[in-house]
Each structure stands twice: as C-alpha cells, then as structure tokens.
Symmetry: C2
Subunit: 592 residues, 2 copies
C-alpha cells in the first residue's frame, strides 16, 4: 500500500513535470542567461550582473546589431540561453536563433504562416508581440493568429502547436507566453472586439490543462465562491455574472495580454486583465467584474485564490494588464510577500500576494485626477464626478481626464532592485478628452464605443516620466521627465545602474539612487521593447529591441492615421515622434 | 565692340552658371562635408580626414544609428553638408534630412508619391537607389519612376521636378543624379527591358539641356563622326547604327545607371553604359556599339570627345556602368590625366581621359577566363572561344564562364588614395553557366533572353575579394578574400585606413598598405551601401548604409525567389546570406 502510494506520487510528479520546473528555476539562477520574459519568475527585471557599473557605463558601446526585417512596433525582449539569443518580431512573428559566438549570425529562423488579412486588421494597437518563453528544450511563441507553437530550441522545428482562438472574431495574441514550472500560460487580446479574456494553461508537451476566464460563470472563471477572496472576503456565488446586465459578460472583455509572474513556493501565478467591452460605460451598467482585476491563481489547477478589481465599472479604458512583480518587503514594519502593480489608472498598488490584501495604493503620477484615492479597507476609489465619462450618457465629451486611456503606465514593464528597494517605472504623463458613443456588437468588428483625444498633462509639454517608486509607502523617490512616454521596459542591475529606452530611440542608463543620467545612445528606431542583460564569455552585454510603434507609436506604424485623430486617440499627442525616429525592428547589443 | 563682347561673355558665364560651379567645387574642398555621391568630382572616394588612424581605429564605436523604415536593398551613401545629413532609401525613395547637432533627429522628410505596381515589378535587380546630389541649395533625387525632383535643402519642399521616362515601358531610375558645375546629369535603368540608354542634362533650375543616347543615330548620340574618337581614331558616320541589325538599336540597351565623374579643367564628364538588349547574343549580331562603353563628353554640350567599348557584342551581360575615378598618375614614366575603370568583364582599364587612349588593361581577378587579354592597340579582347555563349546559337548552355554576369565587380565603387597610389576595389569572385534563349520584345516586359547559374570561382568557396590595385601597371597589390561578394563602396582616408562593408553586414577597416584588418563591426544588415566620412564639431565620423539586397541579395529582398533559380542567377550562389543577415535599411555612424 505504501509502495503504491509512493509510485502514484512519483507518477504524479512526472505528470506535473516537477523535474522540468527545477530546470527553469535553476536556469534563472544563472545570471549569464535571460531565460524568461522578465528574466525570472518574480518579474523583477533585475540582474545580479555588475560588470557594467556607474564608473564605466559611459564607455558602453554597441557590440553588434541585427535587423529583424520587420518594420512595425517591437515590444518585448530577447531570451538568452547558453550562447544563443532568441529574438522575436512584430507580425509576422518571426523567431531568430542568433549565435552569440558569431556576432549574432542566424542559427535558425522560424517564419509562421499567418493570414495577414484575417489577423492584422483586428490588432487594435499595432502588430506587436511581447516575446518568447523557454521550457523543456522548446521556445514558445504566441503568434498573432492565436496559434501557440513550441519550437525545438536547437533547430527551430515546430514540436507542437495549438490554435486557441479565432482572429475572425477579433481574438489575437500579443502577449508573451510564460512558462512556470511544468506549464505554459498564454492569454488573449481583443478587448476592443468584445473578446472575453482568459488565460490558458498547457503542459509543456502540448496538452490543454485549463482555461480560466476573467468574467462569466464561476466554473468558467475557475473560482470557488467560498474560498476565492477579494479584499480578504469570499467573492460569493456568481460574483461576475451579478455585475453585468444580462448576457453582456459574453462579450465583456477582460483580456489577458500582460506580463505574468509566478511564486514557486506558493505555486501561485499572478496577472491582471483588461478593460470591459465596450469603452462606452453607459452601455454596460454594473461593476463589470472581474475585468480590470488582478488574479492570484494556483498554477496546478488554475483556481483563483484571490481577485482584486482596480477599476470597477471602468469608464476610461484603464486596463489592469500591467506586470505584477513579486517582492518580499517590509510594510509597516512587517515583512510581507507582496506583489506590486502600476495600473493604467495611475495608482501603484502593493498587495499581499498570499491573500490579496491591499497594503498600499497611491498615485504614481501626480497628474492623476479621476480619483482622489483608494480606500485600503474597501479597495474602492474616491471618484471625481466630473471625470466620469458615463455620467451624462453617451455622446457627451468629458475633458481633461488624467491619465489618458493608455494609462499612467501601459505594458512597458517596471524593474525592481532588491539593493535599493525601489521600482524603476517607465510612465506616461498624458491626459485626454473622452466621448462615449453607442456601439452595436458585431463579431470581428471593432467594439470600442468612444472617441479620444490625448495630450500632455497640464503644466508641461512632456508626455512621460521615468520614476523611482517606493512601493512600501507609495511615494515617488525621483522622477526624470521624458519628451514622450517612456514606453520601454526597464532593467535594474546589481551595480545600481538602471536602463530603459525612449520613444525617440535613446537607450539610457541612470543612477538607481538619484536618477542622474549616466549614458545615452540613439538607436535606429524608437524603443518600445525592454532592456535586458546577459553575460557571454565573461563579458556583460545589454540588449534592446528598437522598432517604434505600439499604441503610442501607432501614427508611425500606420502612416495613414497620421492625418486624422484615429489610433485610439494616440496619434495627435505623439505626432512629433516622426521628427525623431522612424520605423524598423533592430536589436542592439552593447558592451564595454 | 570690346565692351559688348565682354558683356556677352559675362552673360554666357551667368547662363552656364559658373558661379554655382565654384560653389560646389569649393564645397568639395572642405573635407568636413561629403557633398556628392563620391565626395568629389573625381570619384576617388578619398578623404583628407585622418583623425581616425591605424592606431585608434580599433576603438571606433557607433555614435548613433537611424532606421530608414524601408526594408529592401540600400545602395549609395548619404550626403553631409554643414551639419545636415541627407539620407535616401530604396523604393519608395524617401529622403531624410538629419540634424547632426541632434543625434540625427529628422529635420525634414520627403516621401515621393510613386506608383508601386507600375514601377517595382520592372526593377530588375532589387528596388535600389544610389543616392542624392546637391547643387544650388537643392537636393536632387532620381526617383525610381524616372521623376527627377529638386528639393529645397532647408525644407524638403519640391522646387521642380521632371518625369523623363516611363516605367510602363520598363524604364526606371536607380542611379544617383550627379551635379557638375551648373548641370545635373541623370541616367536611366531598364537594360533588361530593352530601354535604350541615355544621359540627360538639366540646368539646376530645371531646364532640359540635352539628351545623349549611347546607341542610335549620330545626332541622338551627340557625337561628331570626325572629331569623336575611339582608340584615338574618329568614329566615323553612323558608328552605332552600322553595328546593329536593322532597327534593333531602338531596343538596344546601353543604360546609364552608374557613377559619373567630372574634370572641371577639361569640362568633361565620364561614365559607362550597360549591356545591349537582349542578353541573348545570337539575336543581335554586330558589335552593338556603343553599349558596354565608356564616354568622355563635354559638359556644356554633351558632345562626346571619345568613346571606348570594353566588350563589343557582349555575350555575358558585362555592363560597362562601373565608376570611372579620375587620377593624375605616371604611366610608363609620363604623368597622364587618366581615368580608371574596373569593368564587369574583369579587366581594370587605365585610359587617358583627354583622348580616350587605352594605357593599361589587365585582369583584376585571376579567375577571369573568357578573354586572354586586351590589345592596347586595337582595344579588343583575345576571346576564348569556348566561353562564347553565342557560338552555338540559342538554347545551348555554356558552363564555367568567369566572371558571372554580375561581373568581377558590379556598381560597388572603388576608392583611390593619392597617398598610396592604389585603388581599393570591392570585387566579386563568381563564375556562371549561361544559356541564351530567343525572346520577343514586348514593351514593359522582361527582355532578358538568358538563364544563368552562378557559383564561386574554381578552387574556393568565397564569392569575393577586397583588393588593392595598382592602375599604373595593372597589378593586384594585395587581396583579402571575402565570404560573399564585396558589394559595398570603399573609402580611402589620409591616415591610410581604408573602409568597406560586406554582405554579412560587417563594416571593416584595413591597412591601406597591406590589407591587414584593423577593425570590424557587425551592423544590422548586409551592406551594399558605400562608406563615407565627415567631420562635425571637430570629430571625424564614418557613415554607412546597411540594408541587404541588390542583385547579389535579391534572394533576400524577394524571398519568393529563394527556392527557385531566378533572380538573374544570383539566388543560388548567395543563398547562404540568409544565415548571416536580414533585411532592413539602417544608417550607422561611427566615431572614436
């Protein structure tokens, strides 16, 4: 009996792939590599490498560079595993394996076959892709057409693939897949087409494990009304359904295209989801749960341990998809397992990631005006009535709302340094006018329902700040203004040098303590990718994907938008970008 | 009477724009600028700048970089005038004015409106453009659709434009315009479509001055049967017409898309023209004069002073368009005003540029096998019968011909250093099989008439050499093998450092005396552009356009060709290129 139990346990272990989990966790310990989107499970985008330091960073020079051959916006960053760099592109989502022993010569190339006409027209905010995942000898790519494909890391040959949704109904894929332990997780885009968001888990050999929706019936959401908490209380039965009018939840949005993190000790993963569909709040009364929410879920089962909704009944498109770095930090004198989240709505949240308890919620851009603050007891905003876009019904323009729809921060991920205890956050400093209008749902057609106009926050002309944030107390420590939104992911390093990119195309190095600029270099195109680092043959390298585009750069990515106010409102505010840079996906690698 | 004569002379001076000629000639003396395609009238691609030298070139690092936003092959180089850099792109031939005081921020951008469907399909060898010309406050662009446009150098606004031909009949434009004194000269492409080549001269304010054809009646060629010389003898009446069967000269080719040079003292300009149409020699008996020829013409009138045909009755597509740098050098103990020309046919020619006397003609690639040599008396080749592609009529394959159709050198221009007295020549080391076939002429349809297969020259696997050549005696001084053709224009500098690019994307610096490699850097894409240099705020910069493509890179530029043997025979030989680099037009600028 005992033997049999053991044997079953071992089979279970094998089935759940614990051995593989160890592989990835071990690989993440090796700071020479960069094995996952954020470098590690906790999404800190921090590297222990310190060869490049404050004294020598001014001598940093480009080591080699590589054109991806794709022009539209390049978000995300490359992976580096044992002398090979894996680079992705915007649509058509080519993957290159580059040989670091040979100045980036191409070991293999994977070119997906995707239907352009079906896919590209339903990508709301440029044809971006946020990168790759590694696991079990495979490189995972989430193609725009919703195919998840696993490529042999040595040859690029597809090992398995699965088409999880249909661009014909507006579902596409822009987020990076994430491999945690023995599973690959992947979300979905299409909130502007009424796609009901979900996260899907596969085993690393391609079995579908579960699909967890953000809105809808309890079983489809994989929640337990009694044990799934929100603000430390059970969410109760039909917690989502109750907050929607009729069947609206079926086209209710809450898509899942952001950066996921994972706590192997708790075996929980974390992510946020996006806006309720449509952007016209008057059309969808209720809290629209659980859109705009953070989720903490059990990796094995998908079961939600807790949910927190940052923006109930969104009226501004303040998606909650932004990254959720995991940090152990002392809050009010007590060490807590926290997660931190810089929401589009302009608030920086610090939460207990075991229970979902809200610990800190403060504005990380002083311009934020739609809410006076968040109650740590209720988790709710003290909303400013005049910035409600739905208060007067449709077809009424509400002006001067801060932040704009693309938020005080969008997908561009922050970095955390355990040395300084600070977060380094690329932010937007943009406000908007917003006018909702009635829109009828038609599958595969835009389901936006609002027109927007964006502009710099009052009192200045700059559209962004790169800030250092103390998440223990919710305070800005220093703030560097940026001409345009800082739309590039940051990197913190053990030498207290922090890196990020700018939309003009500069990669910059700043002092982690003070924000003082230590170095800058003008790359070939505006940067919406994320800086990362690795070591090869004893030398530390900094890598960045340039390639302007994305929501902020949509006017450049689709020049036909340049002369109208389309592009979901971004075009006007970022029009000056075309005086600074130009399209073109290019990887740049720097070293001393 | 005397006064009147003077006044007329002055009016004539004004009319011919001598004042403006001085402007350009003076500007060329300022080594901080790079005001014309080759840097100066004499096409030496030599710079007096010497801040970057043999001792410090290893420390050269990228200063800034700029994506053009255009993917196909980028030939040519930027112009630099007083703190502004003017950069062109492959089709659609965008022009950027970049601010050197601001890391290359965009001062203005000109985006031509061109008909893609009419133009691009009739561009034989990628959608390249070889660059811009400056004159009289205007930047001249020869658009692919044969429009020559003059742009205000300060605003980019079109000042005048003229459409000189019609892509519907296969005429396009790829060559750079050239401003000499008071005229802008521009050629035409389309030899693979039966276009009869010509050079057209305009005044700088847009008046058509003359059109000089390479084949046809004497008046259309602007030749004087008695005074236009070839091999020091008058060419006689109907020198071209006599060498064609019937009206074939009307679709006879001889296009003019190469690099032009100018001798202000002689007031003569020099250029070569291309292949006779079709590539099937059996279809067009005769010498096909004056295709494959060098011309020395009077700038004011266009009158040909002399012509020399390098390859009478071409059987291999050995276009004569390559550059003709002008050098004063001692030949057989006597100082001569010479021009030097590295022809596609594999011979390096040194000629007296006053008279067209042939002084030296030797192979610059030992692999050349179709001719044993050139008689300096007759100017004719000692042809090797078995490499005649027409000897057996159509549909017979002739194998092992060296060089291949793209020649021992194609358009990639050589540099000359007056310090070493040597030419630095990027060459091809490629052979071919060639099978002519009958083709009927249809306006606007390919009129090629041969299938080709290219491969490395015997005894090796490399496809190129970068060589130093002594044109006084016709000898290779040193030769560096290159994996692929060296398809990038070279730069020689006063510190005896020579630069060039490679198809893998490397920019290299070598010792002018020995060829020893001093520095290399892997740029973002394969290089088919030309290196140049300038000084800004006391600092010397090296600039290069990357962006693989062109004839050698056609398999990358048009991926659909990758799996067949099309691309005018280049695809097979250069297939391995896709393991090294990727499409993408990017300017890279380097400094110490």
């Amino acid at each position: 009996m005992k033997l049999k139990t053991l044997s079953i346990a071992m089979m279970a272990l094998a089935a759940t792939g614990v051995a593989m989990a160890d592989e990835i966790r071990t690989m993440q310990e090796n700071e020479n590599n960069w094995v996952s989107a954020a470098g590690n499970y906790n999404n800190q985008r921090y590297s222990k490498l310190a060869q490049i330091n404050k004294d020598n960073v001014a001598d940093l020079k480009m080591a080699w560079t590589f054109s991806t051959g794709v022009l539209r916006g390049h978000e995300g960053n490359a992976l580096v595993i044992d002398g090979t760099m894996y680079v992705h592109t915007a649509f058509p989502n080519i993957v290159f394996a580059l040989d670091l022993n040979n100045d980036g010569a191409i070991k293999w190339k994977y070119v997906p076959k995707q239907n352009y006409d079906e896919t590209v027209p339903v990508m709301c905010c440029d044809t971006v892709n946020r990168g790759l995942a590694y696991g079990d000898g495979k490189i995972f790519l989430a193609q725009a057409d919703t195919v998840l494909v696993a490529l042999d890391m040595n040859t690029g040959a597809p090992v398995w693939s699965h088409k999880r949704d249909d661009p014909k109904r507006g579902a596409t894929s822009t987020g990076a897949p994430h491999v945690f332990k023995d599973k690959v997780l992947v979300g979905i885009s299409g909130g502007e087409f009424g796609v009901r968001g979900y996260v899907k888990a596969y085993s690393l050999d391609g079995k579908e494990m579960y699909t967890a929706y953000g809105v809808g019936p309890d079983d489809e959401m994989i929640v337990d009304p009694k044990n799934t908490l929100s603000m430390l209380k059970p969410i109760g039965k039909d917690s989502s359904l109750k907050t929607w009018k009729g069947d609206q939840w079926k086209i209710g949005g809450g898509t899942t295209w952001g950066w996921y993190s994972y706590d192997p000790d708790l075996n929980m993963f974390y992510y946020g989801n996006g806006n309720p569909s449509t952007w016209n709040p008057t059309q969808r009364p209720g809290d629209n749960k659980w859109t705009m929410s953070l989720f903490g879920r059990d990796l094995d089962t998908g079961m939600a341990k807790w949910i927190y909704q940052m923006t109930p009944h969104d009226e501004w498109d303040y998606d909650g998809v932004n990254e959720v770095p995991l940090v152990e930090q002392k809050i009010n004198g007590k060490m807590r397992k926290t997660l931190v989240h810089f929401d589009r709505n302009g608030f920086g949240y610090t939460m207990d990631r075991v229970t979902g308890e809200l610990l800190v919620a403060e504005k990380f851009d002083p311009a934020v005006n739609w809410s006076k603050g968040v109650s740590l007891k209720t988790g709710l905003h003290d909303r400013v009535a005049k910035y409600s876009t739905g208060r007067n019904g449709a077809d009424v323009n509400t002006t001067g709302i801060c932040p704009a729809a693309l938020g005080s921060k969008d997908q561009q991920p922050a970095a955390y340094s355990p040395r300084t205890g600070l977060y380094y956050v690329p932010t937007n400093h943009v406000c908007m006018d917003y006018e909702p209008f009635e829109v009828e749902y038609t599958s595969g057609q835009p389901y936006v329902g609002a027109t927007l106009n964006m502009f710099p926050a009052p009192g200045g002309t700059h559209l962004g700040n790169f800030i250092a944030w103390d998440a223990r107390v919710g305070k800005i420590v220093w703030s560097n203004p940026e001409r345009f939104s800082a739309w590039s992911g940051a990197l913190a390093t053990a030498s207290d040098v922090v890196f990020y990119g700018t939309l003009e195309g500069y990669i910059k190095a700043v002092d982690a303590q003070t924000g003082r600029e230590l170095w800058r270099f003008k790359t070939s195109s505006g940067i919406i990718g994320n800086v990362n680092t690795y070591k090869h043959e004893g030398k530390q390298f900094i890598s960045i994907l340039s390639g302007v585009g994305g929501w902020a750069g949509i006017g450049m990515a689709i020049p036909s938008l340049e002369n109208d106010s389309d592009g979901l409102g971004a075009v006007g505010a970022y029009k000056a970008l075309s005086s600074w840079t130009n399209l073109g996906g290019v990887l740049s690698v720097f070293s001393l």
